[in-house]
């Protein structure tokens, strides 16, 4: 390698320092391994989706009652996910929940309500028990980040992973660059973990401000894109997720309002949710979003959330905790001159994310086995970029499982890894750096806006064969313009990479949506030309691999784990 490269040799390279990445680092560090984390943020304590705080954590505690056992929750998983779920991975994840919950408590996270010194557990989103712990998680990520730093995990901040390195379906490292200093890293590793979260900035929202998004707008499907390009299998990419937000500000927070007892009303003041589900406001996120979308399409908008029906004590609690999930939420209502205690809040449908289609345990992204390992040997994934996802708790538990899986993989593997080919590394760097200072071509902002408009119009809600084909044509032609994208500086180069990753995820989503000829989980995959759920033919996962001419699809029956679709596990079986 030339002198201007930073070369690192490590045991476990983790791309993405959010909850999943940090929780994976912890067991590896406990096992005495070297860990390097690449993270686009600048401080581990506050990066990732919950870097600003979190107000709820889904867990089974095994506290005594039957509903609080893994077995009880597991029984409901097929119903919760409409049957599209990897039960092998989900079962292990749910069984590990109590252990990981206690482990996070040991880091100093206080999940208890200071008023009662007990857990304040709520029932949310159609789950069959009060599994959501409502708590002040302002310092949640800070305490997890501290744990990694204390154990001497090495962290490369403001650093973006651009490519993972594989040979013969085995990972051996990655290439990354620091977008503040311009340093390029060639990192050789025995295992690699991709944990960069979900895909955002992929469709339009009410405000039209691209980075005003419910989920972290700096999560741009980097893991899914890097994994796919290297040959890892993706699944469930046809499903999208949306939520309901205060109109104008795509933010979290309505979940808290609804679980505390607020009502949805349409323009006529009708509490309509019971028309759609007997669970009313207590239904799954996907069902709630669906009902609101339908009311808007029926011409019953604007839709409102009314908190005035809540008891005073709940309203007080709500106001006290409004800033926990999003610190600026009180400022938003203040600047709007809006009193949520007395005035109904106008609601919008948010932009889309590719994450977990509004249901727990059915993630969209890199297919993983029960060790969090993808179809590429030594490549792991967890969090919102993996196929079993469940909010912050899902990221924590699967992250930890993947960390333990990586430890096992590293201990079983001999050290015969390829050296990083300097010419290949140079080509990657030269290709990237050519974007900086270009005179001709689109800016990443213009490019991304075209992706967003295409997805909003034809790949989001109300999908049809014709619309999806039109979208694919546009998205594929956009791909040809990628080498010409302009970046003003290193920061812009990071955004250019993000924009390309967003476009690739959009293309994969459109391709997978085209092939699923049914509607499932309401708005998460709504085909106008196939409006019914077809359990006879479509209790199947759609798996996506990189083919010669773009995404190649295959299906796998949902009674089987996704890892049955991995060639590495098949060949192992044959060898045994």
């Amino acid at each position: 390698m030339k002198d201007d490269w930073k070369t690192i040799d490590t045991d476990l390279l983790i791309i993405g320092g959010g909850v999943a990445g940090c929780m994976a680092a912890i067991p590896a560090l406990e096992a005495g391994l070297d860990v390097v984390i690449c993270e686009k943020g600048k401080v581990l304590d506050h990066c990732g989706s919950v870097g600003c705080g979190v107000d709820q954590y889904l867990t089974v505690m095994d506290s005594g009652p039957e509903w609080d056992t893994p077995e009880f929750l597991l029984k409901y998983v097929p119903e919760l996910t409409d049957g599209i779920v990897d039960m092998a991975v989900t079962s292990k994840l749910i069984h590990q929940m109590p252990r990981i919950f206690r482990k996070i408590e040991s880091f100093g996270v206080n999940f208890k309500d200071p008023r009662t010194d007990d857990y304040y557990r709520l029932r949310s989103f159609g789950l069959p028990g009060t599994y959501h712990v409502n708590f002040d998680g302002t310092d949640f990520k800070k305490l997890i980040g501290q744990q990694v730093r204390r154990a001497k995990g090495a962290v490369l901040m403001r650093t973006m992973g651009v490519q993972i390195l594989t040979e013969d379906n085995r990972v051996y490292g990655g290439i990354a660059f620091n977008f503040r200093t311009g340093e390029w890293y060639a990192i050789r590793a025995k295992a690699v973990m991709l944990a960069t979260g979900d895909v955002n900035r992929i469709s339009k929202n009410a405000s039209g401000v691209a980075f005003d998004s419910w989920h972290c707008p700096y999560n741009t499907g980097d893991a899914q894109a890097m994994g796919y390009r290297a040959g890892a299998t993706l699944a469930n990419m046809e499903s999208v997720e949306t939520t309901l937000t205060p109109k104008g500000f795509s933010s979290q927070g309505l979940n808290a309002l609804v679980s505390l007892g607020a009502h949805f009303l349409n323009k006529d003041g009708e509490r309509f949710m019971f028309k759609y589900t007997e669970k009313g406001e207590n239904a799954r996120r996907a069902v709630i979003a669906d009902a609101v979308i339908n009311e808007y399409l029926l011409g019953n908008g604007p839709i409102y959330v009314d908190c005035s029906v809540m008891p005073k004590a709940e309203l007080d609690f709500l106001e006290e905790t409004l800033q926990v999930d999003r610190y600026t939420m009180p400022a938003f209502y203040q600047q709007k001159k809006h009193d949520i205690r007395t005035q109904p809040i106008e609601v919008s449908v948010s932009e889309l994310s590719i994450r977990r289609s509004g249901v727990y345990f059915r993630g969209s992204g890199l297919a993983v086995d029960t060790n969090g390992e993808t179809s590429i040997e030594g490549l792991f994934s967890a969090g919102d970029c993996a196929t079993v996802s469940g909010g912050v708790a899902g990221a924590a538990v699967l992250g930890h499982m993947a960390g333990e899986g990586a430890v096992q993989r590293i201990q079983r593997t001999s050290d015969k890894r390829p050296e990083i080919d300097s010419r290949m590394a140079e080509d990657i760097r030269a290709g990237a750096m050519a974007h900086i200072g270009r005179q001709e071509g689109d800016s990443w902002q213009q490019f991304e806006e075209k992706t967003r408009q295409t997805v909003t119009d034809y790949v989001g809600f109300r999908r049809t064969d014709k619309g999806l084909k039109m979208a694919l044509e546009t998205l594929k032609s956009l791909a040809k313009k990628e080498p010409e994208l302009k970046a003003d500086d290193l920061h812009g180069l990071m955004r250019v990479h993000e924009s390309q990753n967003i476009r690739l995820n959009a293309e994969i989503m459109a391709q997978a949506s085209l092939s699923r000829k049914e509607t499932r989980t309401g708005a998460s995959h709504w085909r106008l030309d196939y409006p019914d759920t077809d359990n006879e033919n479509w209790q199947k996962f759609i798996l996506v691999d990189r083919g010669k001419n773009g995404p190649e699809l295959r299906t796998l029956d949902c009674s089987r784990p996704l890892s049955d679709g991995f060639s590495r596990t098949k060949s192992k079986g044959a060898a045994a």
Binding site: V43, G51, K204, S207, P217, A331, G460, H491, L528
Partner: protein, 92 residues
């Protein structure tokens, strides 16, 4: 305005009188928007990419002297978008 390109709204308002030119806002911004040279007490932090703000408020929260205020743009505070335009075009 003759220029069709609108001026970018800067949501991260830094009070130049009270800012003590520490590095915290640069340090904490998850989007790499705020730039301040480490330890430089002469220069104010610069919001280099205001249109990439998530409105998370971490910079405001961490500021030791409360010199930062997040100001939402008009299209967020007083939003007029027809929500049905976000629900796709029907092509059959």
């Amino acid at each position: 305005m003759s220029d069709s390109k609108q001026k970018v709204h800067n949501p991260i308002q830094i009070n130049t009188e009270t800012c003590i030119r520490c590095d915290f806002c640069d340090w904490i911004c998850p989007g790499d928007l705020i730039y301040h040279e480490d330890g430089n007490k002469e220069h104010l932090p610069v919001v280099a990419y205001p249109d990439e703000c998530w409105f998370c408020g971490l910079c405001q929260k961490i500021c030791p002297v409360d010199a930062i205020t997040i100001i939402f743009p008009e299209q967020m505070i007083n939003n007029k978008t027809d929500v049905t335009t976000l629900l796709g075009k029907v092509v059959e």
